[in-house]
């Protein structure tokens, strides 16, 4: 089994895609880079909102993410996974999640990225509280 690079950040700072893309490390055997940006929508369960307040149980969230990374490493030949999740107030149209998976082929890169996000929504202790629009 190969060594999978991992980068995890749960942060109150804005997600800077430009910096993340510039930090990408890719070996010559890799043919697929999949990345996903999750953005706060203007509606939540039918209500207009201005932002979402994210709360994490940070230590457990990091531990659970690493368990998911361990599982990814067993399932797919992934060279690198990087994930950034916001906490605190995130306004509408602003990214709350950035995930990147690098693998030899697109099939495994897409599958692993989708699986990671699905599992995150099942086990990683992060919650959101919508902030309703005041006007």
């Amino acid at each position: 089994m190969g060594f999978m690079n991992r980068h995890l950040l749960i942060t109150a700072e804005p997600i800077d895609e430009t910096v993340l893309v510039a930090q990408r490390v890719l070996s010559s055997g890799m043919g697929a880079v999949v990345y996903f940006l999750g953005v706060v929508r203007a509606t939540e369960e039918g209500a207009q909102i201005s932002a979402i307040e994210y709360e994490a149980f940070q230590r457990m969230a990091e531990h659970q993410f690493h368990l998911l990374f361990d599982e990814m490493e067993k399932r797919w030949p992934i060279e690198s996974v990087r994930l950034v999740h916001r906490v605190g107030l995130v306004k509408v149209s602003v990214p709350s999640l950035w995930v990147e998976v690098i693998a030899p082929h697109r099939g495994e890169a897409f599958a692993a990225c989708q699986w990671l996000i699905d599992e995150m929504k099942r086990v990683v202790p992060i919650w959101k509280k919508p902030v309703e629009k005041s006007e």
Binding site: Y54, L97, K121
Partner: protein
């Protein structure tokens, strides 16, 4: 050595077994339901996470409505309701997670 010292089951019946004390942290809207962020609960030795939850519902009745959807962790790992609590365990209670 007395019979009770040799046999832990006998010792338990004497009622002299030390209790276990656990801390409980609430996350997300469970803080509103309980009205606090953390609590300390003392239970008899051998108590399970399920028994702790029933005790918490007596103390914080609004948690009762969330019985089926409550997630529970000890330390940083999920545990089921049959988990036997150890003295000093850090228990966390929270609603379904919603990252992303």
């Amino acid at each position: 050595m007395t019979k009770s010292e040799r046999n832990p089951n006998v010792a338990r019946r004497t009622g002299r077994e030390p209790a276990v004390s656990v801390s409980v942290c609430f996350y997300s809207y469970f803080k509103e339901l309980s009205g606090c962020e953390r609590a300390t609960v003392t239970l008899s030795r051998g108590s399970t996470l399920g028994e702790l939850f029933r005790k918490l519902i007596e103390q914080f009745p609004k948690l009762g409505a969330m019985q089926k959807s409550t997630l529970m962790a000890v330390g940083l790992d999920y545990e089921d309701r049959n988990y036997i609590l150890q003295d000093g365990d850090e228990v966390s209670l929270f609603p379904p997670v919603q990252g992303g």
